[in-house]
Assembly symmetry: C2
Homo-oligomer: 249 residues x 2
DNA sequence: CTCACTTTGTGCTCGCGTTCACAAGCGCAT
DNA sequence: ATGCGCTTGTGAACGCGAGCACAAAGTGAG
């Protein structure tokens, strides 16, 4: 391990029953890194850098330079040997590959603390994402305005999705209702879901779900932290556990 | 019962010259799934289920049953053939492996919308994590009380970490200051960092960093959404791009 | 006791992703 | 023009993780 930074989130990618011809076939792992490259390129562009080598960009993105070159090679041969990559050109190519040359309408469902925070987060709109609708089940919240948008009731979802051309949804509801909301979103025609609720969502194969779960991330960190601080304690703990629980079983 | 030996030594993951059984090494992919199993087990326990088969638990966790059995086998042989797994016993074993039998003190740095939301999120304390300190650089926020905790200035970090026994930090600052805060946290003795800021953090090898980035997740979804809705459009777009930018060809 | 049935634990294969190492290609100085 | 130095793009090796398929091990009925 000892990888400096591990990607925290994982795609719960539904296994495609029918393997597409994969005409372009960009590996999933590469797709997950392209946004990182894009961000690094944006910083370089702001600093007035016009050309960058794979080594320099790799450092900025926190990856291996060979990996970066292979990733970019899936998009095409956009570099110049002996020179590097033109920053602006690469920004455009990566953006296009990720589908960021068009705007995406997003709905946020669930306006608790996290939903509010996301609705007010400005980082989305700058990257081609526009929060176009907010939905919550609480009658006390429905009709109020959050981040300049009036909150709608869940049964308005089909209408909202169709009218506003929404294809991406963010779920920030409590876990017990996440699956129900998910089903409604899918029925309404949403094709991609970003799920912040701590629950496993079941969706048809054609719908893409990605999960962000802070509790899980903390637990993974706790595992590594425990590894570092005293395995002796864990050994004692294991013995106690075997006596206390296994003994009675 | 022969206790599943937890030979504590070998914390180092240095490449062994000889292929060793590596009894200690739980694969990273498995560690990332254990919290999911734990949550599913918790739901089952609440429903009064006392025994569960790998197949049933796998469905609840959204994974393959063979994968689940292999994952659990890394912890030891805690199942009973022909019967399944004892829910309570397995909850305990997984919790212990993840280091959740002890409490972890957490500091949240950066009290914007997201920091506030996390500070008020109750899901942490129920899983062995306790937010013990809040830090922000804004003088207008320092000294106020959020979620029952007084907000401290960044220069109090070393003191807070030492006094409160903090080993895990959550960064929810703007990107430009994230690295600075990260450096301070590492210097103060924090061993694990959960980074919500959209920036790549550089840390020493002994510090674990995990990243959660909503913009990146949305961009990955956009990629797949673009794939689904018209490859023809993307092709045209590519041609236009080649003319506009690489136009001399 | 024996047999049929259930479920775990795991050897094995296969495919993906990472990394190394180097040939191919480009610019520049001479 | 030519050679040198730099950087890209990629073939190939390697390691990890996913999933199949089955032997091992337990339960319960007769």
């Amino acid at each position: 391990m000892t990888s400096p930074e591990r990607d925290a989130t994982q795609a719960s990618t539904a296994r495609a029953a029918r393997p597409r011809p994969a005409r372009q076939g960009i590996p999933e792992a590469t797709v997950a890194r392209l946004p990182v490259y894009l961000r690094a390129l944006g910083s370089l562009a702001e600093d007035g850098v016009s050309t960058v080598s794979s080594e320099a960009l790799a450092v900025a993105a926190g990856v291996n330079s060979a990996k970066l070159r292979k990733d970019l090679s899936y998009l095409g041969s956009y570099g110049t040997r002996g020179v590097g990559y033109d920053v602006d050109y690469l920004v455009y190519q990566v953006s296009r590959e990720l589908g960021l040359t068009q705007d995406w309408a997003v709905v946020i469902v669930g306006l608790g603390h996290l939903g509010h925070a996301l609705a007010n987060y400005g980082g989305f709109s700058s990257r081609g994402f526009a929060v176009k609708a907010l939905v919550d089940a609480d009658p006390a919240i429905i009709g109020t305005t959050v981040a300049g948008i009036t909150v709608s009731a869940p049964d308005r979802l089909p209408d909202l999705v169709r009218t506003l051309g929404i294809s991406i949804a963010v779920i920030t509801t409590p876990a017990p209702v996440a699956q129900d909301i998910c089903d409604r979103l899918v029925a309404a025609g949403v094709g991609s879901i970003l799920n912040f609720a701590p629950s496993v969502l079941a969706v048809p194969d054609h719908v893409e779900v990605r999960k962000v779960d802070m509790s899980i991330e903390l637990q993974i960190l706790a595992f590594h932290e425990q590894r570092k601080t005293g395995d002796a304690l864990a050994t004692i703990d294991a013995a106690v556990g075997a006596l206390a629980v296994g003994g009675s079983a």
